[in-house]
């Protein structure tokens, strides 16, 4: 029985993997070879011209840098905002905290479509349209709404004795935050930062609307929207998919432990 189940999982895994494997093997063919042998044949050689052509034609280095800048910016802003707000709610226990938390929850449940036009209009009026700063602020605030929600429960479990001892020693609220609370919850902050980074990397809608010019675009937007121009050539399409998957794979390997810990904490994907 167990062997049958094992076989079933092998088949399922192959089915899950095959789209990625097919993109990889076809990205290293020449167009002529693809036309001759079709997509299912193994590559005859190792031809990187499809990959490099795509890379150069969309200036992929630039897209990578844009994505890194925006994702790091959002992770930093999101963690700082979440920490400050969660400190007020979880440690400070200000009045009305239940409703404030509910407000943050509504904020990350609302569809971005219900915010996007006013945000587009506002950013045009303050000169932040087509600016990565606007994208960092908007996504950072949206993700901090989730981070606040998660972190305030963590901070409210910091033992009273620890906080009381610090107060007796004459530490002010800001010093307690930076020197007592932050080191205590550092692992949670790392998880949160890793999630914010990956989420932002995958973010599509807001960058699509707010970053129209190619020079400022992220990897996701560049692949998802510049795309039509390349669909004629399957090797280029496969190459585009592969260069889009590669950075995600790198992050997954780097962050795997952190992300899985987050899943167990409830910071779902």
């Amino acid at each position: 029985m167990s062997w049958v189940i094992l076989g079933g999982f092998v088949v399922l895994s192959l089915a899950m993997l095959s789209p990625i494997v097919l993109a990889v093997i076809n990205s290293v063919k020449t167009s002529e070879e693809y036309a001759r042998n079709g997509p299912l044949a193994l590559p005859e050689g190792f031809d990187l011209s499809g990959l490099t052509e795509f890379w150069v034609s969309v200036d992929f280095t630039n897209k990578l840098l844009n994505s890194v800048l925006i994702s790091v910016g959002v992770a930093a802003l999101g963690v700082v905002l979440s920490l400050l707000t969660a400190y007020g709610l979880g440690v400070g226990r200000v009045r009305g905290r239940f409703w404030i938390l509910a407000l943050f929850m509504v904020a990350f449940t609302l569809p971005q479509e219900a915010l996007v036009y006013p945000l587009y209009f506002m950013s045009k009026n303050v000169g932040l349209y087509d600016s990565q700063l606007a994208v960092i602020i908007i996504i950072g605030v949206l993700q901090a709404a989730f981070g606040t929600y998660l972190l305030s429960s963590v901070l409210s479990s910091v033992p009273d004795e620890v906080l009381e001892a610090a107060r007796v020693d004459g530490a002010g609220r800001f010093r307690i935050l930076t020197q007592i609370v932050t080191p205590l919850v550092r692992p949670t902050l790392m998880v949160l930062g890793a999630f914010f980074f990956v989420w932002t990397w995958n973010e599509f809608f807001i960058p699509l609307v707010l970053l129209p010019s190619g020079r400022n675009q992220t990897v996701s937007v560049a692949l998802g929207s510049l795309f039509g121009q390349y669909t004629s050539d399957p090797v280029t399409t496969a190459a585009a998919a592969v260069v889009g998957i590669l950075p995600a794979l790198v992050f997954f390997i780097l962050f795997q432990r952190t992300l899985m810990r987050g899943v167990n904490m409830g910071a779902v994907k």
């Binding site: 990625i20 097919l22 993109a23 609302l110 945000l119 901090a144 709404a145 932002t200 996701s220 998802g224």
Partner: protein
Amino acid sequence: MGPGAGADAAPAPPEGTTMTPTTRTLSARRTDGRLKRGEASRYYRYLIPGLLGLIIVVIVPALANLGLSFTQWSGVGTPEFVGLDNYSALMGDATFWRAFGNSAATIVAMAIIPTFAGLFLAALLFDFLAPRFGGATSSLFRTVIYLPQIIPIAVAGVLWDFLLQPQTGAVNAALRAVGLDQAASNWLGDPSLALPTVMVILVWLQLGYTVVIFVAGMSRIDPALHEAASLDGASWLQRFRVITVSSLAPEIIVILLTTTVAALKVFAPIYVLTAGGPANATMVPSYFAFYNFFSTLKVGYGAAISTVLAVLLTVLAVVLLAIQHRHQEGSR
């Protein structure tokens, strides 16, 4: 939010385990009065940056969008107040109903199938593969199934675009290779096939998410329950139905609701794969709103569509909170 399950599958928001401690701790401490009133009020300044951001990025835009839904506006000049005209036009708009009807399909593909298939697969991994072939084998399968989740949704769209090309794509090539030439189709270009095809892609994207969550949940079930039941002669399927499903009931409900939220928000796969076509066969609410905002410049109409979507999602969020709240009450 962006992140999450299936792109906007993304941001798959919160999950039960998070909320449970939150509300419980907050309400339990509400009365312990460890901080004096004046002392607590000095913490308000720590809320300023977060709340200011929330006002600028969420509250003002959401209210502005609501206001715009009562107007006719092309994005320039002054919006013209038209009352409820946009909403009454929506009621008679076949595309609007089509979009929400297709949401039922995305809910099946992103919430219902992944939740139940994910639960079943997680139980097989946990109950059979891990004990028989070792934890490493089971986590290898889990990782492989999870892999599509790490791919940016737009990139997944490009990938499937490549696989599904009618003349040269791998899917049709594979069908022809095994003699099923008849079955080779224009998967995304045929109005009757486009939606089912998109659904298969969404299941592929989403399955790993639920498997990982449920495997994590399984480890919290007391193994003694399963042992006692098998001594009593219960088959695996019986134990799965009775013990696993009922022990994980809170997770199941939360996952079902959060993935439903993600399914209602789905945008990127549609944008990349089909742009809502052919002939609106894969139109979804978020893409329909986007299309009205930025393609036809019917901003008021787009605002009305997104308002309907926002109301629907807020209702789901409230249901989610209520269920979790009740569950905590029950578990005390």
